[in-house]
């Protein structure tokens, strides 16, 4: 089977829209399935699904998104996993698009396309596609964003890195992306494949209070992994990302100081220096300093939020 779409839910009404968007895909029916992880703790809260063969339901007991998604992934039969939220939707033709992309890039572990944000009248408020391809660890550690809702992940790679980390609550999708990018490659299609609805219910299950801290903790843990520095360096392309690497290490010095880990902070300071030295001539370029200074890299979630603000003002 090509692809399993995993939708964790706590029983919100938008779920049927998400499920329908998958079932309506024009693609060989035996090659994809939907797995609904009902994490509401109430086995009776979901309507029985019509197309029961291709929709499987597993009932977890309020374990939060990470564990719910991991459980869904464990029962999945597809070679690729697509993690959708119950208030999102995939676009017509999306699975087909990924099928060709997977055929073109069989080595890639993370495949993604464009993402749209629409309002309740289906007006497109924002659309993003960061366009990254190949080894992208440096770019993703530097802040590039490959939205999980518009990505499929190779099942073997997902389990090799251990799936979603339940200790990271706010930004577990970014954490997963970083861990997969550390060892694997990414592939991109220009087509938009998924859309998020911006409404009153949008992303209510994300803990935005914890998100910034979790993001830093996840980044710090990855930099601890053996050979992280070498991986970061080998995926650096262009002066901008050299500057970005230096920033990544710089910011972890600060983080470790705040955590009272002075020795580790000193270690990171050494690596900051090393990253700067290894950038070579790049440090004389404008791009390097732009990368070092930028709060957010192009294509990241931050700019989607900006677009939305602008759309709201109009």
């Amino acid at each position: 089977m090509f692809c399993s779409v995993i939708i964790p839910t706590i029983g919100r009404q938008t779920l049927s829209r998400a499920v329908q968007s998958v079932l309506e895909q024009e693609f060989t029916p035996e090659e994809f399935e939907v797995i609904i992880v009902n994490d509401s703790g109430d086995a009776n809260s979901l309507p029985a699904w019509q197309d029961i063969d291709r929709v499987r339901i597993i009932h977890t007991q309020r374990r939060e998104r990470c564990m719910a998604r991991n459980a869904g992934a464990a029962i999945a039969r597809g070679s690729y996993l697509w993690f959708l939220d119950d208030d999102d939707r995939i676009l017509p033709g999306a699975i087909n698009e990924f099928w060709s992309l997977a055929a073109d890039s069989p080595q890639a572990d993370w495949l993604y396309g464009g993402i749209q944000v629409v309002d309740e009248y289906e007006t497109i408020l924002a659309e993003r596609n960061s366009g990254l391809r190949g080894k992208s660890f440096a770019q993703i550690m530097g802040g590039a964003w490959l939205p999980i809702q518009s990505s499929i992940i190779k099942t073997t790679a997902f389990f090799e890195v251990g799936g979603f980390d339940p200790a990271i609550i706010g930004t577990e999708d970014l954490d997963l992306c970083r861990r997969i990018a550390m060892y694997g490659e990414v592939a991109n299609t220009e087509a938009a494949v998924a859309c998020l609805f911006r409404g009153d219910l949008w992303a209510t299950s994300t803990d935005y209070v914890r998100a910034p801290a979790d993001t830093r903790r996840s980044r710090d843990a990855l930099l601890d992994e053996p050979r992280a520095y070498a991986r970061l360096h080998s995926s650096t392309r262009g002066d901008y990302w050299h500057g970005r690497n230096v920033r990544v290490y710089l910011s972890t010095i600060n983080w470790n100081l705040q955590q009272g880990k002075y020795l580790k902070a000193a270690g990171r300071a050494l690596l900051t220096g090393a990253a700067a030295v290894q950038s070579g001539r790049a440090i004389f370029s404008r791009q390097f300093w732009a990368g070092l200074r930028a709060e957010h890299v192009p294509g990241s979630l931050h700019f989607i939020m900006k677009d939305l603000e602008n759309a709201g003002r109009q």
């Binding site: 991991n70 464990a74 799936g163």
Partner: protein, 319 residues
């Protein structure tokens, strides 16, 4: 619900006995329980009468090894406590009652009882009577092992520490034990609660699959907050002072070999600190033998001694 027993299986015939040993539990009070069989064989299990029991939930995962299968089982479990059994092991007849009695006046996150190790032919080898109680973190980090089959883990605790590490296959139980011991106390009952089959034949454990991941898991634990203070509480004798120094010393070497100089330095520094703190223990032979020799479980040694003769020699062979 009191307890969920989670049994991952690759479809071995011994599964029947494992499930039956749980369903046959006699419980005089309302110690409600369920069995979750996680079929990780990738194929449909042949029908057996236990599948129609109301207490049983069957979930099919798709060949993902034990950690993932167990985490999946835990996610759907409803019990306050989780019990992880393997498909070739089985529970002692009154185990649930023993645990219920233990849990009634104890809020420790990890409960355990006596286990009997048996060989493939189900001949008794040795019994493990652990003496671990309360804060067992130092012992766990040194290398002590309590079989999961003989343990009940609070579900809340299990999820708070993130469940089994799916990157480990083989030492994932020791890793869980350590992460649990860091944050919770242990409590024991001396009743026999589980029979555990030893021996490699047909075992799904792959001890060599991820040596790096396994050592790395240990390093991650040492990086967690409050580790040192919890370890120090366990250093109550010269011997355990020596063990504590050894934990940091071996970690320093590992980090040096794996080119993590700042971590290596930090561990060596801590190791020196523990040496300093050991004080007069430094004069005892126990300290130095603990510092220089790999860990040998006293529980196993006692078990072997008690068994003697035939079974003792066969257990030595297996271990």
């Amino acid at each position: 619900m009191f307890c969920s027993t989670i049994i991952p299986t690759v479809g071995r015939p011994s599964l029947y006995q494992a499930v039956a040993s749980v369903l046959d539990q006699q419980s005089s009070n309302d110690a409600d329980f369920e069995v979750i069989v996680v079929n990780d064989s990738g194929k449909t299990l042949p029908f057996a009468d236990w599948q129609s029991s109301e207490r049983v939930t069957l979930v099919d995962t798709n060949r993902h090894e034990r950690s993932v299968a167990r985490n999946t089982g835990a996610s759907i479990a409803r019990g306050k406590y989780l019990h992880f059994l393997d498909d070739d092991d089985w529970m002692a007849p009154n185990a649930l009652q023993s645990f219920w009695n233990l849990a009634r006046n104890n809020d420790a996150g990890w409960l355990y009882g006596t286990s009997q190790l048996v060989d493939r032919q189900h001949t008794a080898l040795i019994e493990l009577h652990h003496k671990l109680d309360g804060n067992v973190f130092l012992q766990a980090m040194a290398g002590e092992w309590i079989p999961l089959q003989a343990s009940l883990i609070q579900s809340q605790l299990f999820f708070a520490i993130g469940g089994f590490n799916p990157r480990l296959s083989g030492p994932e139980d020791i890793d869980l034990l350590r992460r649990a011991a860091l944050v919770t106390d242990f409590a024991k009952t001396s009743d026999l609660v589980a029979f555990v089959v030893m021996g490699e034949v047909g075992s799904t454990t792959d001890y060599d699959s991820h040596p790096l991941a396994s050592r790395w898991a240990r390093e991650k634990i040492l990086d967690s907050p409050h580790v040192l203070s919890r370890l120090r509480q366990g250093a109550t004798s010269s011997y355990w002072h020596g063990r504590l120094s050894r934990i940091y010393l071996t970690s320093a070497f590992w980090n040096l070999q794996n080119r993590r100089p700042s971590a290596a330095f930090s561990r060596a520094f801590t190791s020196a600190g523990t040496l300093f703190e050991a004080g007069s223990s430094l004069l005892s032979g126990a300290y130095w033998s603990a510092l220089t020799k790999p860990y040998q479980s006293e529980t196993f040694a006692r078990g072997i001694e008690a068994a003697q003769g035939q079974s003792a020699s066969s257990v030595k062979q297996i271990l």
